[in-house]
Amino acid sequence: MIGTRRNGGAAVAEQDGDAVTGDAPAKPAKAGPTLPVTRLVLPTLVFCLGLAGEFILPNHLTYAASTALCYGLVGLGLYLPLAALRELPLNGAALAGLAAYFFAFHAHGGQAGKTALRVIVGVGLCMAVSVAGGLASLVVTGLYFSVASLVVQIGIEKVVFSMGWLTGGASGRGVAQPDPINGFFTTTRVVFLIASLTCLAITLGMWRVKKTKILANWVMTGHQPEGADAVGVRRWAQKVVIFGLSGLLIGVAGVLFAFVNGTPPPPPQFGVIWSVIFLAIPIASGMRTASAVWAVAAVFTALPIVLESHHINPNLLSGSILLVALIASQSQEAVMARIRNLRRQPEVIEEIALKEGHHALEELHEKPVAATVPATVKGEVDLRAPKQGRALVGTDIGVHFGGVKAVDGVNVRVGPGQRVAIVGANGAGKTTLFNALNGFVPPTTGTVQLGDLDITGMPAYARIRQGLGRTFQLPRLADILTVRQNIYAGQAQDNDLVARADWLMERFGVAALADIPIQVVPFGTRRKVEIVRALARRPEVLLIDEPVSGLEDEEVNELIEVMLDLQAAEGWGLLLIEHDLRFVTSIAEQMMVMVDGKVLTEGSINDVLADERVRQVYLGEVVSV
């Protein structure tokens, strides 16, 4: 039987036989998400208000608007590490101050060309410090990263600002401002125009970046570091880029601070409390969009002006702004849901919920995985062509944590086309062995080779790039990314790989969920997404950790069928950890039993299962190895 089914506008031929002819394109077209019109409301509003401000605001408010743009830029700079890496940098103010003071001091009285050079050097200095701080996040994360960034803040505040030769000292220097253009465009307005055009360009640049696949790599780096390694993402490179961009934005903001004011604001404006206030801007914005960051920055600037006549203590005012920002960030979801519910009728809400993926989930349950795409379709040869296979060989692998030998002298080999299962009780060292093979844990003893290549000293991402694939006991997927973004993460900008990923999504029955966030996807489906992600890179050896835990019996059967079919066609080696013996015996040819970090026995499935000691392990008796 041959039929057709729509997938994002491309017809995919379906058949029961081994071969089919026809004109159907092999690579399914991508069904990218469309941008809802409502998402354009806030950016349009922000842009229009900014444009109107140029003409209708009085001079002092135009100056305030320029200051708001500086705040917004620092907020955007902090938004990157905060949203992508979940790190709280507490040095935003000091970095802005560094650029402001350096620029003002060295651009003082200079010509336009020299001034431009000083802008570049000032911003570059800010980027360098930001990147150095960012690299610290490779070593320390979370609280310790925040404190490390605080150290940078103190260092700049207490040491660098006092270096007269670098920043001109605490008093700063004047910066030349543009002359007025006819009667209406005063200096303040021209400054605002320059500042707003700079910010517009930066916002458009960020919007463009958000549209690329880089975003998925950034989020994966911060939200699932091991997941990032497992798709071959160089985390250090991503961090350098993120903190470099962050430094760029904050540096530009610093230069603008000096430019807008005519001289850098006094050092207390770049103190630690201001760092926290700047950090509150992206936090209050909900870390969703750049437009929200600009809107919050405008509110932060406007509040003191509006409340000026009440003579509120600046500390009380700053504290109130911070508190409101925090509460807003934490209750934003609930408030937005209420607003949506007020605006929409119940049937409309239901319709939106369906659009957001509920129908896709239902479809998924109704559709058997193995039948979604035939085993072979004309033209799909490229998508499933085997890579040159090499064997993964671990020799005398040992992983010791102090006196605990989690893995002790294990030898393992998975050749092209082989399927090897590792079984054993919890704590037997199976996952630790995987981690040693994959590079997440350095082996205390032994070597790991892929073919003739010794990969023992390679970091995890490099092993993935060499040809290993890996999934985890608990899927390492970034919750805020969609299924598609999670799968694309780490993929080179290679259309063939993307097409293969799309094809595999169909093959494993997750294509219908491609554009919904992974956090609403059932656990068992996440496992399939992770397998798709690993297979998309055409691994030579795939390491999968408990792939059927959380899956229904029917889903297990489907998975077995698809995996065996793919493996037979593509010839990759498979090393898996699994407790479910039914799955193991259905999919594996060889079996290895581990007890207390050592191999109890190994061999063909039948031989191993016939071993009395294996029975004792599974019946809970103590076995000495």
Partner: protein
């Protein structure tokens, strides 16, 4: 760059460093106490210190209360605000800890603002609870009774807190909650009481620190804020978990400032903080890597 050093100059630099470190240590104890229960870095400590010292000043100088009564008054107010902060923490269990940390900073800003309203618009140094007069000279440095009193107080409080945490039933409960609050609750440990209680103790310690620090720094909020940042640095040395190591860490930070700023090694204006910054940077990386390795083994 390096100035010729006599024994007296060195001794003086060390003495200055130790007493500066003692000031940091007093603050650090409050930071460690609150972190020790629910892993939140309490940036409310500087606010509590300033406000506690403000109450102490107001009671003793404006109301004319005896110093000991004013001291207890300041500490009690610190404890009450600390308890309130603890209650807020209980309401924020779903918040990321970094956000709770920022929340505590808002408390500091509020307390700074409130102190501004209470205090006269001039720089004020409250009287020391140990008396403003008396002391002796060591090498080139005059050591006041206030400094000796602060030093002894810091040691006593450090030992007391360390003993409570490591040797008493309360300490076991606190450690259990710190390790895993939900599991502790299933053992019947009253989570809420302990969180509020420990934060109250942290507030009291911060207020006491403010009262002992302000005779030297004045009641300038931003000076006390910087004292707390160095204190945070000192407490990081012990991974924010150990009162003893926080004390030693704070002394180390003070010593490095004393030695670089006290004429033994003179690098230039503003650069006396370089040593302290280096100490803190090493401490952060050491503690962070240790924590990461431990987490790796546990998983």
């Amino acid at each position: 760059m390096v100035v010729g050093v006599t024994a007296s100059v060195f001794e003086s630099a060390v003495i200055i460093g130790i007493f500066t470190g003692t000031i940091y240590a007093m603050m650090a104890l409050g930071i460690v106490a609150s972190f020790r229960i629910n892993r939140v870095v309490n940036l409310g400590i500087p606010g509590l210190a300033v406000f506690g010292a403000t109450i102490y000043f107001h009671m003793s100088n404006v109301w004319g209360a005896p110093v000991i009564v004013a001291l207890f008054g300041g500490v009690a107010v610190g404890a009450a605000i600390g308890a309130l902060l603890g209650l807020c923490n209980l309401k924020m269990t779903q918040w990321p800890r970094g956000f709770v940390m920022i929340f505590t900073l808002t408390v500091t800003l509020f307390l700074f603002g409130w102190s501004d309203k209470i205090l006269p618009p001039i720089q004020i140094s409250p009287a020391s609870p140990f008396g403003d007069k008396g002391g002796f000279k060591v090498a080139l440095t005059f050591v006041s009774n206030h400094q000796i009193g602060t030093f002894i107080t810091a040691i006593v409080v450090t030992l007391l807190m360390g003993w409570v945490v490591s040797k008493t039933r309360i300490g076991i409960y606190v450690r259990a909650i710190y390790d895993d609050g939900d599991s502790a609750a299933t053992l019947g440990i009253p989570l809420g009481y302990f969180v509020v209680g420990v934060w109250a103790v942290a507030g009291a310690l911060a207020a006491l620190a403010g009262i002992l620090v302000s005779p030297r720094t004045t009641l300038d909020p931003y000076l006390i804020l910087f004292v707390s940042i160095w204190a945070l640095a000192g407490s990081i040395l012990g991974g924010l978990e150990s009162f003893g190591v926080a004390f030693v860490g704070s002394i180390l930070v003070g010593l490095s400032q004393g030695i670089l700023g006290g004429g033994i090694i003179h690098l230039g204006p503003g650069l006396e903080n370089l040593g302290a910054i280096a100490v803190v940077a090493v401490a952060v990386f050491y503690a962070g890597v240790k924590r990461r390795d431990l987490a790796h083994i546990q998983t």
